[in-house]
């Protein structure tokens, strides 16, 4: 085992300590917990209807890029508890505002690069929950882009995604749970697989997009994220924004340099899709999904998760927090993720 392997093993136990920094942190237990679904409070639009709404706004011809905008993988970001959330949600670091600007800058760089390679339409979906999916200041974003913001929303990171989209990008992405990446996690999970393929958040987005023929063409984040995503998805463009030294320390590259690299990689990504080099992730139907919720969560999280429609307890699981789910629809998996996210994130 090399040093990294040892680091990996050591970090495996760290989530328990770092739990307090997780963006999808559990509320203190106050049973009995109200598990009313989001639609009852907020009238969340059914995911297929949301998809219809976005599809109706899209150009018939041209090349559309759908950008998932997360934050942990942005240039410079290392610490979740302060940098990734505003004061109103417990952050105490003015650099949060600077990172919101950095988010817009990196997304704008991706748009500029894609546009240079012929992309004509851009949809940006807020993917970071720190400010409940409202991180980009709307006026900082490239004016050509459609911006999906707010929470709760159907299929969190894939809201409105539809077959008319030509390519997906993920910016500010973070590495999978139980890896030594910066603020590494995956939704509310400790592990998540589809047909045995390990997927991180970028991989899940690629899976849902892939099922409708949309390839994940660009992922930007730390070295752990870019390496694991290439392993999961095969050929795609990646931009390494920083080298993780631990889950909250990194050798970071200058933001301006990262933005320039994103611009170049975005152009390559669009060309890669057009030439057929970058392909959608296709998995065999039916999809056998297996996942475990984080061990740091209180008991009500796996309990409520187990009660969701179609979710079954994993055979032979002694932890009580591992489940399986089988479906022919990748979007239904996205919807399931949304429901689990709601269980954890509910304000």
């Amino acid at each position: 085992m090399n040093a990294r392997g040892l680091g990996c093993a050591a970090l495996g136990v760290l989530p328990a300590l770092l739990g307090a920094q997780q963006p999808m942190q559990a509320q203190p237990p106050q049973p009995p917990r109200d598990t009313t679904p989001p639609a009852a409070y907020y009238g969340v639009t059914e995911y297929q209807q949301a998809r219809t709404k976005l599809a109706a706004l899209m150009q018939r011809n041209g090349f559309t890029v759908y950008i998932v905008a997360d934050m942990e993988g942005l240039a410079g970001v290392v610490r979740n508890a302060t940098e990734m959330r505003p004061e109103a949600r417990g952050g105490h670091d003015p650099t949060h505002e600077a990172f919101r600007k950095e988010l817009a800058d990196e997304v704008n760089a991706a748009i500029a690069g894609a546009r240079a390679a012929g992309a004509t339409q851009f949809v940006v979906n807020e993917g970071h929950g720190g400010t409940l999916f409202r991180n980009i200041h709307p006026e900082d974003l490239d004016p050509d882009a459609i911006l999906i913001r707010g929470y709760p929303k159907p299929n969190v990171m894939e809201t409105g995604l539809n077959p008319q989209v030509d390519a997906m990008f993920i910016i500010g992405a973070h590495a999978n749970a139980r890896t030594p990446g910066i603020i590494s996690h995956s939704y509310a999970f400790d592990s998540f697989t589809v047909n045995g393929h390990v997927l991180n958040e970028a991989g899940i987005a690629a899976f849902i997009g892939g099922a409708m023929g949309v390839p994940m063409a660009l992922a930007a984040g730390d070295n752990v994220l870019t390496a694991e995503t290439r392993e999961m998805l095969g050929d795609l463009e990646t931009v390494t924004t920083k080298i993780a030294e631990s889950r909250s320390a990194a050798a970071v590259f200058p933001p301006r340099v990262v933005q320039r690299q994103i611009r170049v990689a975005a152009a390559r990504a669009v060309r890669g899709v057009r030439l057929g080099r970058i392909k959608p992730l296709r998995l065999e139907r039916p999809y056998h999904v297996a996942f475990c919720t984080r061990p740091t969560f209180q008991a009500w999280v796996p309990e409520a998760t187990g009660n969701l429609e179609g979710v079954a307890r994993m055979a032979g699981d002694s932890t009580g927090r591992c489940f399986t789910y089988q479906t022919d629809s990748a979007e239904a998996v996205g919807n399931l993720l949304n429901e689990i996210e709601w269980i954890v994130l509910k304000p």
Binding site: A50, R134, H137, P138, E139
Partner: protein, 323 residues
């Protein structure tokens, strides 16, 4: 369920500010217009980009609002709001309008959201609270056309921060009215017609059902939940407002828009929100309002020949709601 109650209450931003008794004072008319007057009612829930309660509440509206603001967000959206109004004025001016009244329609920060020093210098701004006929304070027959920006859908619709004053249902002659509909009916007493409404897709669809398809509707965003939407660049929204306001003024000058018409007398029926405590119901019960009848636990009706009477009753009810 306290959470449901809280959400219902917090969405009624205007209600918070209706505590003080309106003084027995009749303000003089606004200075008469030199040329075509446009009356603009900017609300915030339906403006471009806004999706969350924290973006439209200052936190000083009352006890229950304290935790519902995020100053960095609200400040930001005040500026965006002001620029939306400026764009509307700019478009209207290019089309020949010469007088502009802007009446704050959003209860955040006690109806004082627009930044006066950033507002177009040609506009008269009505801000603060309390004010008679809240959302149409200052309207009279000198107004050439009425525009609502940033409007939101009524309760029961999947629109961004959807609500309607203090009510779960509100009908006139059996027709369900949202806030735009109620104020359009009041404006019709002065012969003023609505020419432009901007808001999310739920709001525009709902308002077309109420007012008909005559007005110019601008969809600022497509709701995918009550606090999440597909939104567009503020630049694009301002361009749409500017262009549409110009078209609206030109058409209004030609008399293209007709005031909202319902048969008189108006049979007004409404139900207070289910989430309100019994004290609110008791308070409304004790209003000595001529002609107001109670028809069920939370339901009332009123018959009147003047939509303004309906407006004043609304003011009185809202004072009860949060007193």
């Amino acid at each position: 369920m306290p959470r449901l109650a809280m959400i219902a209450v917090l969405l009624c931003a205007p209600c918070a500010v209706l505590r003080a008794q309106t003084p027995a004072y009749t303000p003089p008319h606004l200075p008469p217009p030199h040329g075509f007057r446009v009356f603009i009612v900017p609300d915030m829930e339906g403006m471009g980009s806004a999706v969350d309660i924290h973006e439209v509440i200052a936190g000083n509206e009352g006890e229950q609002y304290k935790t519902l603001t995020s100053p960095d967000y609200w400040d930001h959206f005040r500026s965006l709001l002001t620029r939306e109004v400026n764009a509307t004025i700019a478009g209207a001016r290019l089309a020949g309008a010469r007088s502009f009244v802007v009446n704050e329609g959003h209860g955040g920060n006690l109806f004082a959201n627009i930044l006066p020093w950033e507002l177009d210098t040609g506009a008269i701004l009505v801000r603060g609270f309390p004010k008679p006929l809240i959302m149409v304070t200052g309207i009279d027959s000198t107004v050439g056309t009425l525009m609502f920006t940033g409007a939101h859908a009524g309760p029961g619709h999947p629109g961004i921060l959807a609500h309607n004053f203090a009510f779960d249902t509100f009908t006139v002659n059996g027709k369900s009215l949202n806030e735009v509909g109620i104020n359009a009916l009041i404006a019709s007493e002065y012969g003023v017609a609505v020419s432009l409404v901007s808001g999310d897709d739920a709001e525009i669809a709902e308002t077309r059902e109420i007012l008909g398809a005559g007005f110019i509707g601008i969809v600022t965003k497509y709701a995918v939940g009550r606090m999440a939407a597909i939104t567009f660049s503020p630049t694009l929204i301002r361009r749409m407002l500017r262009d549409s306001a110009g078209v609206a003024v030109r058409r209004a000058m030609r008399g293209d828009f007709t005031p909202f018409h319902l048969e008189k007398p108006y049979h007004v029926a409404f139900a207070l929100r289910r989430s309100y405590p019994a004290t609110v119901v008791a308070g409304v019960d004790s209003l000595s309002w001529s002609g107001l009848e109670k028809t069920a636990e939370r339901s009332y009706r009123l018959t009147t020949d003047d939509a303004r009477q309906m407006g004043y009753l609304l003011d009185a009810i809202e004072r009860v709601v949060l007193h």
